[in-house]
Amino acid sequence: MLHRSVWPYIASIAALLLLWQLAAGWVDSRALPTPMAVLAVLEREVTSGALPYHLAVTLARVAASFFLALLIGSAIGIVMGRSVLIDRLGDSWLIVFLNLPALVTIVLCYVWFGLTEAAAILAVTINKIPNVVVTVREGARAISRDLLEMAQVFQLGRVRTLRHVVLPSLGPFIIAAARSGLAIVWKIVLVVELLGRSSGVGFQINLFFQLFDVAGILAYTIAFVAVIQLLELGVLQPLERRANRWRR
């Protein structure tokens, strides 16, 4: 079973690497170094300790903002999806915050709260929440009325209805929000680090960009992607399988 499920992954990653190698050979430019060149940079950065340090810092920021955003965003999304009035009242705020450029929130947070870790995480969270709200709200609107009525008749109460009816119904939406959310949070963290932090992958990537060192950028990107890939295989997918095991 393990064998069967891991095999396509390995194959497709190999294909990706091959494609990359071919493309790099074909364009032969500094803008796309070969996998080996990137690997060399990766090794250098790992040995120097720079990569583990910056990666750890970034991961911590991503994790903190991600959970905050997912929690708060889901709560708001559920409420807006279930109450027409609150939805109407909140909708224009949602659209404003959804479309506020990351730059604006980040600068305002930094200027108000100083260039602190808390300000950085707050900025990312504020940026991400509206996306979670939008996705979870659609989910909340699509919850089966049959089941909600059942919960009402049998007097499950708010908490148990939330836990046993609402949240499981939202499953696919929350998973979607989490997956793409993790990626978005990471991208915003990159900007936050560019604009006001002295550590983290975003800080490093932008330094490499100044030097037009694409190999360096890719090395750090790959390190992060590898962590996410491991999280996927080790945490998210097993969780998802468990959550979906009721499906016919």
Binding site: S29, Y110, G114, L115, L195, N206, L207, Q210, F212
Partner: protein
């Protein structure tokens, strides 16, 4: 005797810089040779990954000093932030074309694809535009196909032969210079063409006026330390070799170009003449750049230059 040890008494000066930027080279020399300690201050380097990050840091109070141009300072003063400026470098950019380019004069650029880093209010671009107007009688703004973009990207485009010319700052030009690009006009030429001395420092250490007034000695010490560092960099090649990991040149030729460029940019004098030049240059750029560049103040604001420092 004072109860405090000399180290504890030293005034801390936090400077926000680009990690691989030219300012950091100088600061590294200051720290390595303990020039700050000798002058009785403690320079603390806060590294960032983007130029904009340093200005955010200054406004958010995370650093005391950043390096930026005095046009920006003037605009901020007009908006109510009382910042002030002491010179760091007079090194400026240039307009470069490939060595084999048929372009010989500004007028030849008509209809050509010109990369401009820093956008439409870039100072080098504005001064070169002014030169075009006064000498060749053409406004490059209308005459060329402008491509604004991030400096590293423009360099890559230029090297790939996708641009007929490029205006960018001198430290990015070094790489082009090393790869068979030639200077069509330098910004110094452009400045001279409109009657301004070529050695006008554009970039400087910028800090809050109030902060500086409370620490006149510290500011003076910083300027002295900076000049000592420049002295070392001007004279010692060994020092440059030590700095090489921070400079991160692509190759030896680029390294040489960067070294020469830095040395050329060391400001030699900073007196009333330079300040008057600055005011004149400001007026020219304000006319071309318009409100986008200077905001509500068509003339250089008083107090832009920290009065204590002249040489």
């Amino acid at each position: 005797a004072l109860p405090l040890s000399p180290a504890a008494a030293r005034e801390a000066v936090r400077i926000g810089v680009l990690k691989f930027g030219t300012v950091n080279w100088e600061l590294d020399v200051i720290k390595t040779h303990a020039l700050d300690k000798k002058e009785g201050i403690d320079v603390q380097i806060v590294e960032f990954a983007g130029r904009d990050a340093t200005s955010v840091a200054l406004l958010a109070g995370k650093v005391d000093v950043i390096v930026i141009d005095w046009i920006w300072v003037s605009r901020q003063r007009a908006e109510g932030s009382k910042l002030t400026f002491v010179p760091f470098s007079s090194a400026v950019g240039a307009l470069m074309v490939p060595a084999d380019s048929p372009v010989r004069t500004l007028a030849d650029l008509k209809g050509k694809r010109l990369g401009i880093s820093g956008g439409p209010i870039d100072k080098s671009w504005l001064l070169i535009r002014a030169m075009g107007l006064s000498q060749a009688g053409i406004d490059l703004d209308d005459a060329v196909d402008k491509v604004f973009g991030a400096p590293p990207l423009l360099n890559a485009q230029a090297l790939a032969g996708r641009l007929d010319g490029i205006i960018t700052s001198w430290n990015f030009l070094a790489e082009l210079e090393a790869r068979r690009f030639r200077t069509l006009v330098s910004v110094e030429d452009a400045a001279r063409a409109i009657g301004i001395s070529g050695t006008l420092p554009l970039l400087g250490y910028v800090f809050d006026e109030g902060w500086g007034r409370d620490r006149r000695d510290a500011v003076a010490a910083l300027v002295r330390a900076s000049r000592s560092a420049k002295q070392i960099l001007a004279e010692s090649d060994a020092e440059w070799d030590r700095l090489r990991p921070l400079v991160k040149p692509a190759d030896d030729a680029t390294f040489a170009a960067l070294k020469a460029g830095f040395r050329r940019g060391v400001p030699t004098s900073w007196g009333q003449a330079e300040r008057d030049d600055a005011a004149r240059a400001y007026a020219v750029m304000a006319k071309l750049g318009g409100a986008e560049l200077v905001g509500r103040s068509p003339t250089l604001q008083p107090g832009v230059f920290w009065p204590d420092v002249t040489y």
